[in-house]
Amino acid sequence: MAKGRELKGRIKSVENTRKITRTMEMVATSKMKRAQDRVVAARPYARALADVIASLYNPDLAERFPLLRQPAKEGRAAVILLTSNRGLAGAFNANLIKEARALIARLEAAGSEVELHVVGKKGNGYFKYVGRAVAVSRIDITDRPTAADAASLVDSLMARFIAGGVDAVYVVGSRFNSALSTPPTADRVLPVQPPTAKGGQKDYLLYPSAEAILTELLPSYVRNAVYRALVETVAAEQSARRTAMKNATDNAGEMLNLLRRTYNRARQAQITQEIAEIVGGASALQG
């Protein structure tokens, strides 16, 4: 019964794979929930910042803030691409890389020089493979990014933007709309696009002055934009992994059904054949 034994081996192997994918699915689900909590927890800060900036901002001030300067031409642009350190998340990293490549192509077509900052093993691996130079490559950002991580990514770029070394900074990451909708997006974080006030501007007492407050808040606003992108990308990664592992588990189940059916049919056929042989042998003896 050579075929039967072979089938049995395959059934065992698929069962083991299914065990692994099912575990990974559950791990990703719980990690996603925690990442999602962090996305939600980060919102009040972003809202408060945007609120105050919107209520202080007016176009007359714009010219005095280097972070708000709008270069006529983006001569040199920086792209920060966020990817994951681990795979097995379906098309998650591929989609992000695709988004980044589209952005780079668009910028280069417009005559900009693009400098790449890549976070995550997967993105770095890809650009190494295609042989494109990466200015900054980071693989030390975990799946619990902190505000300090965001600062370390963007602070040097902010300084260079102020000095005129770069004219625009983009962040490519996944937006976390919900567990099922995590589209890759490219956002421009510099120059700062000031948020617009909802419900009119309040008449605040300002200490020391609108200018001094904005000087302090604008860098926070930029850092926060990057922090939000980091947190949302992690949540999106876990959600992508969960979906991928759920599909893998379902497929393994289907495959098992098929294999078991084939195995049982082979076993039955063999029994039938044995009976036929015995009956045949008996009737031959009876003459």
């Binding site: 962090r38 007492l205 200490y207």
Partner: protein
């Protein structure tokens, strides 16, 4: 008398949310005390101790800003920790 709605917000989480009769915060040029019915105000913060409700809740903060509007006080800072 009306109470202040106070929240202390850092990038990672909302550290405190609740009502209090007063807030004392380390503004950029010295401490500032907020009582209910304060005029709308935004001020940047220096380094020091933030006290809510006369010291019932204490936080070490550094930088960031404080916003008061309609009896809602928001302390928004990148560096805050319970003390």
């Amino acid at each position: 008398m009306a109470l202040l709605k106070v929240s202390v917000i850092s990038p990672e989480a909302t550290l405190f949310e609740g009502e209090a009769a007063s807030v004392t915060a380390p503004a950029f040029d010295g401490e500032v005390g907020i009582l209910p019915m304060h005029a709308p105000m935004v001020t940047t913060l220096g380094a020091g101790m933030l006290r809510i409700g006369g010291g019932a809740e204490r936080f070490n903060v550094q930088g960031g800003f404080l916003q008061v509007v309609d009896n809602v006080v928001r302390v928004v800072t990148e560096q805050a920790s319970r003390a």
